[in-house]
Amino acid sequence: MKSVLPILTVLAAIVVIWYGAAVGLNSKWTYDQAARAGQDVSFSQLVTDTMTQERPVLPAPHQVAKGLWEGVAGQKITSKRSLVYHGGVTFSATMAGFVLGAVAGILLAVGIVHNRAMDMSVMPWAIASQTIPILAIAPMVIVVLASLGIKGLLPKAIIAAYLSFFPILVGMVKGLRAPDGMQLDLLRTYNASGSETFWKLRLPSSMPYFFASLKVGIAAALVGTIVAELPAGATQGLGARLLSGSYYGQTIQIWAALFAAAALAAVLVIVVGAIEKVVLRKMGMAR
């Protein structure tokens, strides 16, 4: 619980800066409106107005908090207006995609580390695959999969997996190659097979890299899901919430959805971090 005070301090600092920024960014509109009405604005009017605009450039923290609160607690969780409901939709696709992506990333990394032909040929194309702007091909993927009869969670999960496998691949290749010469030599003297070397040496010593890349990968999976939620018909999920909020200029709804998404990502990253702690401690590698 040592971390409560630091987090609160940082949060307090952010909130203060945020309020300042809200006044600054939203004031233009206030002044414009006053000018149109031919009025003057006093400072106190400015402050109150900038914090209560309906479509602020930057909503004030309490406005977002209110939006979040209404989205989370103000609705039945089965309601279409509930952020919990949409978060759940996004979460399930994210997890499915993350698992797919992690498995793919790890398998490819294992292949690359153990097979020279794969090492030489796959990596450049894995890199190239990541430079394809996902938002551009997501609709095509969805269309093609839909015409194959695949709908619902899976297309989203595939796009999430596409984004999350890469950081995991890169991290794992590095991690699986991290053992030093002497550690490898030891196993050579036992004539250990490739799979034994993998399980007993490469995998354990890749753990720090493994968890660092899982954290990036799970965050990427969430982004992928949200991206995929746009062309999936923009119906359900935090992505759809973001989009429709954006489409109707409901800034506060956007920010509430944004925060819900970020909170979800943060929770996922924290969970991975907690697993990391436990695993590393079990392995005697925690400091």
Binding site: T189, Y190, N191, M207, G284, M285
Partner: protein
């Protein structure tokens, strides 16, 4: 047929500032059941030679056979156990886990494993430390754990690179005796790197003296000490001292200081 036979063995490392001639024209034959010590100044190629035998390094010239096979085939046949110069314990495994590592790979049963771990831990006087992690042990304890790891399984050949370097005289004497007992009981062939002249003379049937830049063999001494009975007191015998003297002279010749 010798167990290990090197003919005109050469090894050159390519480094950022030019080649290093680590082994030059090394010729050596080691018969089954011999206990061969390698002694020589630091950097003369002892480790490199042991690594060649273990197929961890590929010679750039000459020929080398182990058990009549190429070193790599011998490695694949799990012909040897190797104790590295540095302990090289895996930090994520406990001491017992580290010792189990080769046993797991070689497919020993769980019960057999536990029993062997117990035995070798006692042998190196680490009983009760099985559950600790490597970084919780002192330097010498780590080294002993790595010796235990190599002794836990039965290999015909035992290659040991300065196994007792970080141990005090008393433990060293004790482990020397244990090693001799083990050698006699199992008739292993042992290749042993050491810096201690008395240790080399006490243990070996053959002492190989090496010299650096380029690394080469300058003397091979066949011990005249009795093979079966070597009490610690033998170290005060004239015969012992004569051999030790010859080794010392060979060693000294390899050093630049005297030139």
């Amino acid at each position: 047929m010798p167990v290990i036979e090197a003919k005109d063995l050469n090894l050159t490392f390519q480094t950022n500032d030019g080649p290093v001639h680590a082994l030059k024209d090394v010729n050596l034959a080691i018969e089954k059941g011999e206990f061969v010590s390698f002694i020589g100044p630091s950097g003369c190629g002892k480790t490199t030679f042991l690594r060649c035998i273990a197929a961890l390094e590929t010679p750039t010239g000459g020929s080398l056979t182990v058990n009549g096979m190429s070193p790599d085939d011998a490695r694949k046949a799990r012909s040897y156990g190797y104790v590295f110069q540095a302990a090289g314990l895996y930090p994520w495994r406990t001491i017992a886990g580290n010792i189990k590592l080769p046993l797991e790979i070689m497919g020993y049963s769980r019960a057999e494993m536990d029993q062997r771990v117990e035995k070798v831990l006692d042998l190196v006087d680490l009983g009760g430390f099985g559950k600790k992690f490597p970084w919780q042990l002192s330097g010498g304890m780590q080294q002993r754990a790595s010796i235990a790891r190599a002794l836990a399984f039965d290999a015909e050949i035992l290659l040991m690179d300065e196994p007792f370097g970080a141990l005090d005289e008393i433990v060293r004497d004790k482990l020397n005796e244990e090693l001799l007992k083990l050698w006699k009981r199992t008739e292993k062939t042992i290749g042993f790197v050491t810096h201690s002249i008395p240790e080399a003379v006490y243990l070996s049937t053959k002492i190989v003296v090496m010299s650096p830049r380029p690394g080469r063999i300058t003397d091979v001494i066949d011990s005249t000490l009795p093979r079966d009975e070597r009490p610690l007191e033998i170290r005060d015998s004239a015969e012992f001292l004569a051999i030790a003297h010859r080794v010392r002279e060979g060693l000294r010749a390899g050093h630049a200081y005297d030139e």
